[in-house]
């Protein structure tokens, strides 16, 4: 066979170490799908392009490698959009390949032509449309390089059909061309010394761990820092698991849905070292009252993440690993401080106040699920109450073991992300936790799971409602409920059976253990429907417009 553009794509995918892609074909992708036949790249056929993007995202988050998804022009490409935006918000390294109409038809409103570059402009790190097959290899190499370097993110490559089928020589073996040095990481030693000095002198320091710690693989360094400085830490939602959650210095999740202890101690601390976080509004709540007593040092590779929402006293732009390697020797080894004692007494007081996690029976149930599963389990959490229950009760024991859509809050993420995670890390057990609402949003992926017989445990927490929205209406709209009821007519176990997946239903207030055991014992995929009271909310909660310490404990607050 003569070499054509599609072969170049497969050549570069192999060169980049890609052996799995997630996608959906169309007439315009066929040159690629044809050449995939004899390649070492496995193509998983999803049941919706949105799910292909989420699966590539889940794959990337579980493995740390670049996730790749592919869709045809027009509707295939537009179906990727939510998945690309989700990856963008959480800085997932991803390459999205979209087919496009032939170059001769561009701009003519040809069948299934859409300006996907224009549509995805604000939600990609960069994008390319290839107009010459001789540039294809270099463009793809650049796309991969960009996706994974600096602050990672999705890069889209739009591939006109004629480019895919043009004859061309095989791509020369070549290193990726040098890209613009986006980030000046020249080590600002003095600034690191200042950060170290301020930390050494502080009496009530706190470390905030954001998603950047995972993205830069800096877990071990962060743990070393915690142990050396005896510094308590909180995490953002994206930072969960960067350090083993059962570490004694962990105060929990900060922010509007965070733990009381974490928010309270951040409010009292005199120094914050923030690593790999952009201080999003979800983390800070009312920004004016965030950490009023603290000097703040921030380390991030993206200069635009620094001081975006809050004044930073000691900024440092650079790779987290480089920064921490330089910082660690400057940090004094500390003894246990008065601060840690104070934290301990608050921890004791809080434990008595809200029943442990504030997640009620739903939280207890999730804890039981985790206890029944192997330690080496990856959990994907969807969005809604089920997400908050999961991130507050699941003890993430390793950095990539808890995967959820933080920045975008995309309902329907957890099921396809679990597919990507399972395929990326087949040696780990994978549990997808979802609400009933989010489950409907990518329910078709049961077919993918069943077709490939992926042993994913699917936990549908069914409260018959858009639970999180219900809680907001209940608390802040005088319980004027509207458009939140999903009903109880749908039999999810029967639905799963229809897709070829066994399952069972339990109620969290009866005896959930039997169902959990059946799920754990099943060899292949399994769906466990867990019925929960619609008023099983999350407490405490921070009302809109309030600060991180103005917590509500029930609707009468």
């Amino acid at each position: 066979m003569e070499t054509i553009g599609a072969d170049i794509i497969i050549q570069i995918l192999r060169e980049e170490g890609v052996d799995v892609i997630f996608g959906y074909p169309g007439a315009n992708t066929l040159p690629i799908h044809d050449r995939l036949i004899n390649s070492e790249v496995r193509h998983y056929l999803m049941r919706h392009e949105q799910a292909a993007a989420h699966a590539a995202d889940g794959y990337a988050r579980a493995t740390g490698k670049v996730g790749v998804c592919i869709a045809t022009s027009g509707p295939g490409a537009t179906n990727l959009v939510t998945g690309i935006a989700t990856a963008f918000m959480d800085s997932t390294p991803m390459v999205a390949l979209t087919a496009q109409v032939s170059t001769s038809l561009l701009g003519q409103d040809a069948f299934q032509e859409t300006d996907i570059i224009g549509i995805t402009l604000p939600i990609t790190k960069h994008s390319y449309q290839v107009h010459d097959v001789n540039n294809l290899a270099a463009t793809l190499r650049q796309a991969f390089e960009l996706a994974k370097t600096g602050r990672p993110g999705p890069v889209l490559v739009d591939l006109p059909r004629d480019i895919l089928s043009s004859k061309c020589p095989a791509a020369e073996e070549k290193a990726a061309p040098a890209l613009k040095a986006n980030y000046k990481t020249e080590e600002d030693r003095e600034q690191l010394e200042m950060i170290a000095k301020t930390l050494n002198q502080s009496e009530r320091p706190i470390l905030i761990i954001g998603g950047g710690v995972k993205l830069s693989n800096a877990f071990l360094l962060v743990r070393e820092l915690i142990e050396k400085a005896k510094i308590p830490f909180v995490t953002t939602m994206m930072g969960i698991g960067s350090v083993d959650s059962i570490n004694g210095y962990n105060l929990g999740l900060i922010g509007t849905h965070g733990n009381e202890l974490a928010n309270s101690m951040v409010h009292q601390c005199d120094f914050i070292l923030a690593i790999g976080t952009r201080f999003s509004d979800r983390s800070t709540a009312l920004i004016e009252e965030f950490a009023p007593l603290a000097k703040i040092a921030q380390i991030d590779i993206d200069p635009t993440s620094i001081g975006k929402s809050i004044k930073i006293n000691l900024p440092y732009v650079g790779d987290i690993r480089d920064a921490l390697t330089a910082l660690l020797p400057l940090i004094d080894a500390k003894e246990k401080s008065e601060w840690l004692q104070r934290i301990q007494s608050e921890r004791d007081a809080i434990t008595g106040k809200v029943a442990d996690t504030g997640c009620g029976l739903a939280g207890d149930f999730i804890r039981m699920v985790q206890e029944a599963m192997p330690v080496e389990t990856t959990v994907t959490a969807d969005v809604g109450l089920n997400q908050i229950w999961t991130v507050r009760t699941w003890q993430a024991r390793s950095p990539r073991s808890l995967i959820t859509s933080g920045g975008m809050g995309t309902m329907g993420f957890s099921l396809p992300a679990a597919i990507g995670a399972k395929i990326g890390t087949p040696e780990r057990a994978v549990v997808a936790i979802t609400g009933d609402g989010g489950f409907y949003m990518n329910i078709q992926e049961l077919a993918t799971i069943s077709y490939y017989n992926l042993p994913i445990k699917i936990v549908v927490i069914n409260n018959g409602h858009l639970g999180m929205i219900r809680q907001i209406q209940d608390l802040f709209y005088n319980a004027r409920f509207n458009t939140i009821e999903l009903g109880s007519k749908v039999d999810f176990v029967a639905v799963a059976r229809g897709f070829g997946i066994p399952g069972s239903r339990i109620a969290v207030d009866k005896d959930p253990q039997a169902g959990i055991e059946a799920m754990v014992k099943a060899d292949g995929p399994y769906l466990l429907e867990a019925v929960v009271d619609p008023e099983n909310y999350v407490y405490p909660i921070i009302p809109p417009g309030c600060s991180n310490i103005e917590m509500m404990y029930d609707r009468l607050d």
Binding site: G118, L121, P122, H126, K180, N182, P303, T304, K308
Partner: protein, 170 residues
């Protein structure tokens, strides 16, 4: 649209890859952050792979954080520089169509001489004038002639060039 109008202005020069779609990426940064672009000029440089965008935008104390750093992140942006300072020469070209009323003739001719502008074409009651100057000169020119009856106006917006021989060739 988003916030109250910003009082200040800032002119910046952006070297970019000379490729389709780059202008919309650059423009998108301004639009997404709610900064209105006041004028814009794009042209190739001595290196045909590189274009220079000279742009005057609304500005405020957040401009550097919100705009310049974001522009720096765009893959197609090579360099962003602030050209408002002393080290740059700035010029703008302005064309105005002027109604010439009875009795104003000699005042207008004197002003034309004073401003050093050029009459591009004229009929007894309508002049088209051309002026090249620094942004404050074009502003003064416009303000002055407005009292005579300006019918049409078009201007290029600022372009700028470094005063001294550039260190780095692109």
């Amino acid at each position: 649209m988003l916030k109250k109008a910003r009082e200040q202005e800032q002119t910046i020069s952006i070297l970019v890859n000379n490729q389709p779609g780059v202008l919309s990426r650059v423009g998108g940064v301004f639009g997404r952050h709610g900064y209105n672009i006041k004028s814009l000029c794009v042209a190739e440089t001595t290196n045909r792979d590189v274009s220079r965008i000279t742009l005057t935008s609304e500005s405020d104390p957040d401009f550097t954080e919100k705009i310049k750093k974001q522009l720096d992140k765009l893959v197609d942006v090579i360099e962003v520089s602030d050209v408002s300072g002393q080290s740059y020469i700035q010029r703008e070209l302005m064309l105005i169509g002027l109604t010439v009323k009875e009795g104003a003739y000699s005042d207008i001719l004197r002003a034309i001489e004073l401003f050093g502008c050029r009459i591009v074409t004229m009929t007894p009651d309508y002049f088209i004038l051309e002026l090249t100057g620094q942004p404050d000169e074009t502003a003064a020119f416009l303000k002055f002639f407005q009292s005579f009856g300006v019918e049409e106006i078009n201007r290029t917006g600022s372009i700028a060039i470094e005063r001294t021989k550039p260190q780095r060739r692109i």
